[in-house]
């Protein structure tokens, strides 16, 4: 007896669906009841939201496929202009029935929503889709907001505009409240796909057990894996990937004959530190999955592999280092204190009554402040021991620091008159640079006085 009971859909299909989709029973039954029968008009637009890897796209895809409903799936990241979106939908519709003619593409221009509506009607007539509901699935719908203004509202009212039997399904990771267009909006039916809980994840992950090993063996492995990773990651896709990556290591004692499949404790002892290491490296993409696999196979070369973040050191030309230091000082010291740091006879200035109230909070907490080019050069001249000629090379070095994203340009309008910059490097980075040129930067930072 299938879980879903809908007289209008064939039972074999329902059973197949139940096998293919796990832990999404309530969502599916809602959807099926909204869809109704094939030729019934359905709700004009349905908005489905939920985190990454909660099965939104997968559920919709399998559902539409199993029941062989006429449908179109477009991805808004891929179709980044409205034209691509329209033409994508139309050409998919065109090739929907005429499976023989796969290489047939939509030949007419479709630049505006008006054209789209007109051509849509034509296509549905051509393809004989008048008497059944057509489903248009718009994946990554949050990108619709950045496209033309009328897109979102137009798709919501597509049924009304075309006077056809059509339902638009929006899939997004963001809640509907963040979408709501100002004009012409038609409230869609919203449906949430909640996160999978630990038990559900366990159930789904255990499903794809390798043919060589028993069900229990794999599910106990998944149990251990979730024990380590569930705290940091609930992304099903990522978990599947990690499970596949680390499974050979888990099997290792069994393959070698050191342990039996039922020897769970021993296997756990073997895999646990390994998984923890995986969490710090391969999960963060510090090292790649391929390298990780090679490491498991005991490749000696990759044994001392360093992650991406390990190599933070950047070798810079001599004056670039000083420019960067000067930029850092200019970004984090109040301009009024420059006199104190860079003039010889500045006298003693007490920190407390010298500064305004807001300057007393740590500048490092507030982040870098913009500074004009003149100040940067003035500081540069006073921190470099020898005389620095203001050559073209110095100026081009500032620009190349900007392209390296070590400095950033603030406000582009005033290029010629007085460009302003911000220093974007961290304290650790600048300390390493300063140490390299024997410059005690802490002594020059107001926060550390």
């Amino acid at each position: 007896m299938p879980f879903f009971e809908y007289p209008d859909y064939p039972e074999t299909h329902l059973l197949e669906l139940e096998k293919m989709v796990l832990c999404r029973e309530s969502q599916i039954s809602t959807l099926l009841s909204v869809f109704g029968e094939r030729e019934h008009f359905s709700f004009p637009s349905i908005f489905i939201y939920g985190h990454t890897a909660t099965g939104k796209t997968y559920v919709i895809k399998t559902l539409l496929k199993i029941f062989k409903l006429p449908h179109v799936i477009v991805n808004c990241i891929e179709c980044f202009t409205s034209r691509l979106l329209f033409e994508g939908i139309l050409s998919q519709l065109n090739s929907h029935c005429s499976t023989l003619e796969k290489e047939f593409y939509f030949r007419e221009h479709c630049d505006s929503f008006n054209d789209f509506v007109r051509l849509y009607k034509q296509v549905t007539l051509d393809q004989d889709l008048k008497n059944q509901t057509v489903y248009i699935v718009v994946d990554k719908a949050e990108h619709l907001r950045e496209m033309d203004v009328n897109l979102l509202a137009g798709f919501q009212r597509l049924q009304e505009l075309t006077d056809c039997n059509v339902t638009v399904l929006f899939l997004s990771e963001i809640v509907w409240e963040k979408f709501r267009p100002s004009t012409g909006s038609f409230e869609p039916l919203t449906l949430n796909f909640p996160n999978y809980n630990k038990g559900e994840l366990q159930r789904i992950l255990s499903c794809d057990h390798p043919p060589k090993y028993s069900d229990d063996f794999y599910s106990s492995y998944i149990n251990i894996l979730l024990g380590v990773f569930y705290i940091v990651c609930r992304d099903l896709k990522e978990l599947r990937h990690l499970a596949a990556l680390n499974f050979p290591k888990y099997c290792e004692p069994v393959v070698k004959g050191e342990a039996k499949e039922s020897d769970t404790h021993r296997l756990w002892k073997n895999i646990e530190p390994h998984l923890k290491k995986a969490m710090q490296t391969v999960y963060l993409r510090e090292i790649s999955s391929l390298q990780w696999e090679r490491m498991q196979q005991g490749d000696k070369e990759t044994g001392q592999l360093k992650g991406l973040s390990a190599q933070a050191h950047v070798e810079l030309p001599y004056y670039s280092k000083f420019l960067l230091i000067a930029a850092y000082l200019a970004s984090y010291n109040p301009a009024r204190t420059d006199k104190r740091f860079f003039l010889k006879h500045h006298g003693k200035i007490k920190k407390t009554n010298f500064l305004k109230k807001h300057e007393k909070t740590s500048n490092h907490l507030l982040g870098p402040k913009p500074f004009p080019l003149d100040r940067l050069l003035a500081i540069l001249y006073s921190i470099v021991d020898r005389r620095v000629a203001p050559t073209a090379n110095i100026f081009s070095q500032i620009t190349s620091l900007v392209t390296l994203q070590l400095l950033s340009l603030v406000g582009h309008d005033d290029q010629l008159d007085g460009p302003k910059y911000k220093c974007t490097v961290s304290l650790d980075f600048i300390r390493a640079v300063a140490r390299n040129v024997n410059f005690d930067i802490i002594k020059y930072l107001y926060d550390f006085l």
């Binding site: 990454t52 991805n75 990241i77 891929e78 980044f80 202009t81 034209r83 033409e87 994508g88 050409s91 593409y105 939509f106 030949r107 630049d111 794809d208 390798p210 060589k212 896709k237 990522e238 599947r240 990937h241 596949a244 990556l245 499974f247 963060l284 993409r285 790649s288 999955s289 391929l290 360093k306 991406l308 973040s309 190599q311 933070a312 050191h313 950047v314 070798e315 810079l316 030309p317 001599y318 004056y319 670039s320 003149d374 003035a378 000629a389 203001p390 050559t391 073209a392 090379n393 110095i394 081009s396 070095q397 190349s400 392209t403 390296l404 994203q405 070590l406 010629l416 008159d417 007085g418």
Partner: protein
């Protein structure tokens, strides 16, 4: 027509030699014409030009070869990575682990260093190598071409599919008559379709001819090189990666990120959800200092090329490299500039070629050129040293001069042949000393030797002080290396040195036989040390240490120490014989380019200083005697803009326009005031007013001042500093 004849197949910029054709060139001026037109001494102009060009061609070839070798390791590992990821792609899709693992896009992070100007060359040769050995589908993208995802995909498609893709993504253009089928799909989908059709045809073709002539893989990967990762907008990059991941099953895409700073940038630019779509591996290119070292070694520290640089010139070039840009390309450009400049400015540079050729040319020198030789400072001092008889001959007889010059040239070339191996030997000794008194790199040592008598410098003394304390195994290893260096050199004079060094080595080996005697000596040494341990009083300790030192100094040297001293003295004599600065050599001007100031002016320009100079002291550029002033005083004859500039230097951040005008009028009318009292009316002359306004707007155009809203009738000053 002429243009097409002169076109070269080379992709790099530069000057090329064209064999003069029989037909006379009538139309456009060639580089040679420009070269000859500006010459001060027109002697042998065309020969000089051709010599410089062929010399530079040789040097360029050498650098290209060298870069290839340097990058070989990096490229090899990259190619291996590409092959591996490709085989991963082709692996059986049904396998369990492949099904469950999410398919990631392989990506290589290429850390290339901050010398962005060099990246182009590296990446270009990389893509050439990839095209030749891995895949015919390589596209390289630059951030400035891709401000949005649309332009990025457009570029990608155009590069991969050629003109098929066309520039169709622009929706507003209505130029397509022949509607291509691909146009209607999303760009990435059409790329995918294109790839499938291409591989299908490849497959059938390779089935037809089963020979292994087909060097690419059956499913060659599509490599996309993102040249400057830092400059891409994160959003564009993220979108691109997400889109390509949608097709990762069908299209074997591989990304190469060119990174200038550190691989951390990947995490800074890509969110976790995007970076988890990638399978990133790290590759590091050779450091630029190492690169420079090899360039100097191969181009300057060799007798292969007759052209040489003086110490100062080399210093300028290395300083630009180390202080400013880290760019090896710029260094090579500087080198090229010096070559051209040398041949351009030095009339006798016609002799700057290989010795045999130089001798031939020497024979056919004109009288004027002989006069040029006599004018050379080094030759003049040489003449002074001769006896009066030959002095007269040298100054009057051309043929005698030529004979003499021949010997001198031979001498100069021999000097180089000896100089380089000895320099390398000395470097072997000094490069491992603590604190590197003579520099870590051979170029530092080279500069030091060229500047003055190196053995008179303090660093040299301290280095030799350290050398006298070298341990035996180190000494022997270094000697061994020196022997190898001398072996590979062709100099005849150094064969004696080689023998001597080999003899030293043999003697050291003999010493090993007589270890026992040394052991005996050591025993003698240990007794005071033991005594030392017993003492506890600080005063006593100091005293014994002093005694120990005394005894050591007075102690007779053992065999090893004596031999060591001998080696070091020998090295010293070598240095004094062969490493004399080139300035002491006669006729060095022919081979050495020494105009460091020209080089600096051209390569390390100071636009601000030049502007300030021009405006503050117009005489410097205009060379008008009237303008000659000794600071402080502003001449009323100077151009208006100069007067306005000088006056504005005296102001603060905000300048009152009226005051400025007053001052301007005063200066301009300074001399006229005495004879006319019309100024008393305080009415500003209209002409002067107009001149002032023009000067001020010129200053604004130059970016010295800008209008401000802070105060009425004021302008803000954008320069700082004053008189």
């Amino acid at each position: 027509m002429d243009d097409t004849r002169c076109a070269t197949s080379s992709v790099s910029k530069g000057c090329f030699v064209f064999k003069p054709s029989n037909k006379k060139r009538k139309t456009s001026l060639t580089t040679a014409d420009y070269f000859n037109a500006g010459l001060k001494d027109v002697e042998d102009g065309s020969v000089r030009f051709e010599t410089s060009q062929s010399l530079w061609q040789e040097m360029k070839l050498e650098t290209e070869q060298l870069q290839e070798e340097l990058n070989k390791k990096l490229f090899d590992s990259l190619i291996e990575f590409l092959r591996k990821s490709q085989s991963e792609f082709q692996r059986e899709k049904n396998e369990w682990s492949c099904r469950t693992k999410s398919s990631e896009i392989p990506a290589a992070a290429l850390v290339l260093g901050v010398n962005v100007t060099d990246h182009d060359v590296t990446l270009k040769s990389l893509s050439e190598i990839l095209l030749a050995s891995v895949t015919p589908y390589v596209a390289s993208l630059q951030s400035k071409e891709c401000p949005g995802i649309k332009q990025l995909l457009q570029k990608l498609l155009v590069q991969l599919m050629g003109q098929v893709a066309d520039v169709e993504l622009d929706s507003d253009e209505e130029k397509q008559v022949q509607v291509s089928q691909r146009r209607k799909r999303c760009p990435m989908a059409s790329l995918c379709g294109w790839y499938h059709s291409i591989t299908k045809t490849n497959l059938t073709r390779s089935k037809k001819r089963t020979s292994s002539s087909f060097q690419h893989l059956l499913f060659p990967p599509v490599v996309v090189i993102l040249k400057d990762m830092e400059c891409f907008t994160p959003k564009v990059l993220q979108d691109f990666i997400t889109i390509s991941s949608l097709y990762s099953q069908e299209l074997p895409l591989i990304l190469l990120f060119g990174i200038a700073t550190s691989p951390m940038i990947i995490h800074r630019m890509l969110s976790h959800s995007v970076s988890s779509l990638l399978c990133i591996e790290l590759f590091q290119s050779v450091s630029c200092t190492q690169h420079l070292g090899t360039v100097i070694n191969k181009l300057l520290l060799t007798t292969q090329f007759p052209f040489r640089m003086s110490g100062k010139v080399l210093q300028v070039l290395t300083n630009i490299f180390l202080y400013h840009d880290f760019s090896v390309q710029n260094f090579i450009k500087g080198l090229q500039f010096s070559v051209v400049e040398h041949f351009y400015s030095q009339a006798l540079s016609v002799l700057c070629c290989h010795l045999s050729e130089a001798k031939k040319r020497l024979k056919s020198l004109s009288h004027n050129q002989c006069e040029n030789i006599r004018q050379l400072p080094s030759f003049m001092s040489y003449v002074d040293l001769q006896d009066s008889d030959s002095q007269i001959k040298l100054l009057t007889s051309d043929s005698f001069l030529k004979d003499e010059a021949k010997i001198l040239l031979e001498d100069l070339h021999a000097y180089h042949e000896n100089y380089i191996p000895v320099l390398k030997c000395l470097h072997e000794f000094t490069c491992c000393l603590p604190k590197y008194p003579l520099g870590k790199q051979i170029r530092e040592l080279h500069c030091a030797c060229m500047e003055k008598n190196v053995w008179e410098s303090e660093e040299y003394m301290s280095a030799f002080e350290l050398l006298r304390m070298l341990a035996k195994d180190e000494l022997m290893a270094t000697l061994q290396k020196c022997v190898e260096i001398l072996n590979s050199s062709s100099s005849k004079q150094l064969s004696n040195t080689l023998k001597k060094l080999e003899e030293f080595l043999a003697r050291f080996e003999c010493l090993e036989g007589s270890v026992s005697s040394e052991e005996h000596l050591k025993d003698g040494n240990t007794s005071p040390r033991k005594a030392l341990q017993k003492r506890t009083n600080l005063y006593h300790l100091q005293k014994t240490l002093l005694e120990l030192k005394e005894s050591r100094r007075s102690k007779k040297l053992n065999n090893f120490e004596a031999l060591r001293l001998e080696v070091v003295t020998f090295l010293d004599s070598l240095v004094r014989d062969y490493l004399v600065p080139p300035e002491t050599k006669t006729l060095h001007e022919i081979l050495y380019f020494s105009s460091a100031s020209t080089l600096r002016r051209h390569l390390n320009a100071a636009p601000r200083t030049a502007l300030h100079m021009a405006l503050n002291n117009p005489y410097c550029y205009l060379k008008n005697e009237v303008l000659k002033s000794d600071g402080g005083v502003i001449s009323n004859l100077a151009p208006d803009i100069c007067i306005a500039y000088r006056l504005h230097l005296e102001c603060g951040r905000l300048i009152n326009l009226y005051d400025w005008l007053e001052a301007f009028t005063t200066v301009v009318t300074a001399t006229e005031r005495t004879d006319s009292d019309s100024m008393a009316s305080r009415q500003v002359d209209e002409v002067i007013h107009a001149r002032f306004i023009r000067a001020v707007s010129e200053l604004e155009l130059l970016g010295f001042i800008k209008p401000t809203k802070l105060k009425t009738d004021h302008v803000a000053r954008l320069t700082w500093g004053g008189c």
